[in-house]
Assembly symmetry: C2
Homo-oligomer: 718 residues x 2
Amino acid sequence: MKYTIIVCLGFFLLHFSASAQSKKLTIEDCVLKGKNILAPEKINQPQWIEGRTALVYSRKLNGVDCLIKYDWRKKPSQVSWTVGKLNQAFRRLKLDTLTKLPNVIRTGMDGFVFFNNNNLIKYDYRFDSITFHLTLDKKAENMDVAKYTTHVAYTVDNNLFVLMNNGTVQPISNDGNAGLVYGKSVHRDEYGISKGTYWSPKGNLLAYYRMDQSMVTDYPIMDLDEHPAKEHNIKYPMAGMKSHEVKVGVYNTATQKSVYLKINGPADQYLTNIAWSNDERNVFVVVLNRATDHLWLNEYDANTGDFVKTILEEQNNDWLEPTILIQFLPNNNNLFVWQSQRTGHNHLYLYDLNGTMQKELTHGDWDVINVSGISFGKNKIYFTGTTTSPLDQQICCVDATTGEMQQLTKDKGIHSLYLNEYTGDYLDVFSSYQIPKVVSIYDRRGKLRSNILLAENPLKDYKLGQTKIFNITAADNKTALYCRMILPPNFDSTKKYPCITYTYNGPHVQLVTNGWLNGADLWFHYLAQEGFIVFTVDGRGSGNRGFDFEKCIHRQLGTCEIADQMKGNDYLRHLKYIDTARLGIHGWSFGGFMTTSLMTRTPGKYKVGVCGGPVIDWSYYEVMYTERYMDTPAENPEGYKKSALTNYIDNLRGKLLMIHGTSDDVVVWQQSLMYIKKCVEKDKPIDYFVYPGHLHNVQGKDRIHLLQKITDYFKQNL
Amino acid sequence: MKYTIIVCLGFFLLHFSASAQSKKLTIEDCVLKGKNILAPEKINQPQWIEGRTALVYSRKLNGVDCLIKYDWRKKPSQVSWTVGKLNQAFRRLKLDTLTKLPNVIRTGMDGFVFFNNNNLIKYDYRFDSITFHLTLDKKAENMDVAKYTTHVAYTVDNNLFVLMNNGTVQPISNDGNAGLVYGKSVHRDEYGISKGTYWSPKGNLLAYYRMDQSMVTDYPIMDLDEHPAKEHNIKYPMAGMKSHEVKVGVYNTATQKSVYLKINGPADQYLTNIAWSNDERNVFVVVLNRATDHLWLNEYDANTGDFVKTILEEQNNDWLEPTILIQFLPNNNNLFVWQSQRTGHNHLYLYDLNGTMQKELTHGDWDVINVSGISFGKNKIYFTGTTTSPLDQQICCVDATTGEMQQLTKDKGIHSLYLNEYTGDYLDVFSSYQIPKVVSIYDRRGKLRSNILLAENPLKDYKLGQTKIFNITAADNKTALYCRMILPPNFDSTKKYPCITYTYNGPHVQLVTNGWLNGADLWFHYLAQEGFIVFTVDGRGSGNRGFDFEKCIHRQLGTCEIADQMKGNDYLRHLKYIDTARLGIHGWSFGGFMTTSLMTRTPGKYKVGVCGGPVIDWSYYEVMYTERYMDTPAENPEGYKKSALTNYIDNLRGKLLMIHGTSDDVVVWQQSLMYIKKCVEKDKPIDYFVYPGHLHNVQGKDRIHLLQKITDYFKQNL
């Protein structure tokens, strides 16, 4: 059935070669339009209605933002709501009206649940009326709405509260402060943690984090908008230094009491992957030691906090990085899916609560990327994986009963998957380098039922250069590394071009894919238009290639990454159309670390570098990320020394521009400032720029200034 | 007699044209040698022995630092001490020895008084022995030694103590802290204040400052050497905001009690010019209102603190800036010398304690620069003044009895003067653009008695370009402005050269003089050698031209300064050998303010600017300096708005590099950071650099990096 789409999408093909393409990109285009009108159209917030056959999503219809309920089984298949239509119900109840389409938190059988400012609203889509509303504290943040009960957990400053569905407020904590934080994400959002509250399945109990960070050192951030400037301190645990101490509490809305899980071990260990048993009796926590080489999946009694048992343990000589909650098979209190990288790739395993592995669900030289869900009745687990290539993400399912796996998609590119667990229908959101975006509904048999979006090529009027995808061999002489090269429009292979390498090469990030623009930023095409070849190679250590590919960075961040970037550099140098005297390098964050590493640890290989928000010395980066890869400075002094870029300043040749956001709370400003200080001490020329008030990345319209500055720097110096 | 010198100095003349001059300057030369071996040799710490005929000073003799006692009346005229010779006396007493020549605080009839670490030493030069020593608290700072008694006032942290000459310690305060400071300089060193203690003439009583700055806002300075970075707050009162509150105490070492002078007026007024009556009975203070347009010279009873009387008042529609203590005629408790700019120039007046002006001692279209002293018996006041030209400082004296004034020197250049009040001999330290340094002793009749230094031309081996001094007419179409232009070596008037204007144009500073190198920095000659013409004009508002010249800046900093710099720009544009498309501008501090002003308020007039430590908005600069010229932001909103450079960013054309020391506690870092922030918001290209850990000026060897950066910026962009 996929071929049907390809045929009907034929007009998208070869979109970079038609003669009508004459417009040139501007930097303003890249920044201001790159994520909207120059990006493929998409659908927003897709979700299947719980227990029903319909999909809810939002997109523009005739230029107006609409919330859409879509069911291919019905006629008419589509019902839509504009802000105006929704507001009729708000006006009837004299509630504050919406100013834009709400973000729907959940769609039940009887309505959409969403917030409008600090009001929780349930809108019954059947009768177009508001059937329920609650008003929260104006300062409420981190709202988390329980299924079924619709109780709302939220924080005010650093304390945690529940607004019960009867409108009463239950305070869970009252001693929160800057040093003691309740109900918020912990461990600096590492290990898959992005929130601090976890409702039980029936919505009666709330597991939550309590983080004591009073012992963590302060780092000062300067607020330049004050007169005079003021500093405010953030808690920033640096590698090897005191880390915060986390507990998991369970609050019972009936008894209005909390218990803390009785978790053994050092206070600075990691508590991740909080999950509930279906019957709400037990809470599961992955306990990971600070050394991140040993984890225990533990079960605790939700009422008493008592330790019940360790279900399974994993150890790894390099590191462990559990990020995905365990997921029970539907209506099953014993069998659950566990994800592990133990084979060198991320795969799914079926375990029972005694810790016995029942089945190796997936295996092979590829990675499970994202599990969407498990179909009821059939126990089929739907997920995406890099089954055809590390550059692709295909939709697959595996039968938990038989172990039979199927790859449901074939086209090269990136598929995202949204499973309707109730019907077995699934939504396929697809893009490839040729196909901007296709969103399709398939039924449980894999039959295409509807293309709800066929996005037009947003760049059809622009003259873009050719993108080439290929691979080279890593410095280990065996691993394939994927590369992307963007050529200038009107490329002439008999000429010589300057080339900018854009790099990251750090964990979790994959720059080259078979998705739209092959993963490239639109600005790279602007650079190509300005006469540069733009090259990227994802070296060992980077994302979506599996643990074996990643782990060479252990205890030596920078080392194998540099070696692989040098393979890219070698490759460029053998191309006749590259001006080898004019090779540039650019990257941000880990890519800033890499750029500075390459400018000084492989001197002369690049003439000009631009780095942003760079890690200069891993002992100034945070505990959670750094120690996973590097261990502590005391445990690995050689590794820290070898990667500390202040030790290579003498080697700096060529021109290097370093950039930092002054309010960066990820890679702190001190990192680049201390590098500049050392360059001055060593009388080494270097250039510097700051984005005052900006965080780790320069976002918003100020990004125009950033991209112009980088572009100008390469133009003037490369 | 001066002509004698000129003849014997004839070999210094024309030192820029001889054929042996072939060496080229380097930036390292300018920074590392510019203040020592490439600067004219000088004598250090000259002082006349109290009540005696001999001069004490230090200099190198045969390459060794020596302390020298010199008396032209004696044979041998010179006795000298090396560190080794002094240390023999230290060893005899088993005291810590000197590691370098001490700074002699005072030379009495019986010895040198100096500190070695925290030991106060009196070295009897007659017998080469140490006759007195006292040990201070290791944390002692701001040591102030009383005449005759040799009691030592000093601070530890923020408290004030006296170490009595019998070795006992008398604490004067005990409640000092960061917000309450005793015995240190106040009012941010404005109004001639550089210390916080003032011993009475006989050394029994101590007047001292007490500053309450608890109400002053904090400004955070980031300490990048900590791991992680820490901030420490300084008290920084910004224009129009709460200012500190100062009192004057008088401590009596006999009663061990303090009284505070009963000074009326608002707590945030300025208390300046603390002076004593000869009989120690009274203390004189100039009370200046915060608006700095009204001052009272008041007399207080030193024992009770009671107000005695106001001796004189001055008012000025623009501002008043009293900086010089009153000075009584020798052995006279009634007549004193008062300095005032009331005529538009700084002049001397003889007053009695009833406030009656007895004599206008000096007058005319020139300024008294510095009074050295008054000769005993003769009552002749010796001073330097700009009698021949604003570019010169000549030695003069005026007879306080007859009012007769004499100019004692004639040669164009800068004379410094050290009067021996006892004998009437005086030391003339002279330099001109031709004469590196001549130090001569004259007797009371003006007869040359000795040339104790005839410095060799330190640049005789270097090939430097010609320096031209000339004047142009200010934007008021009448005032002469002095200019300096340094031409490249091998200048060819048929060619065209890029030109960098170096500017300051703010109060107190005069860049162009008839002194050595005509006041130029050696680096300007480096720039000339690199092919730039380097130009400076001292516009209205700048120093040593008198109050009438300065006052056009009142309530409108930047306005007439820009107009005058534009006259300089016009002048450059009419010269055939200047490439008018390649005009650059550079300045630091007020000169950074001017550079940024000129790049944006006269857009297109300069192609490239480099500014350092710039004031961007006067409402972020400190109370004492800013309100004197600008009044408060509430009193002068238009003036602040007109001078605030964030309002002109839209006009920025060409290239501007802004530089700041991250620990700058004079012009705070926030000033440039907020400018960069606004440039980013307005999408204006600008370049930036920081010197981490540096204060208001980049000093030490890191200055090499700074000058290279500025040079490179002009080379690459101009």
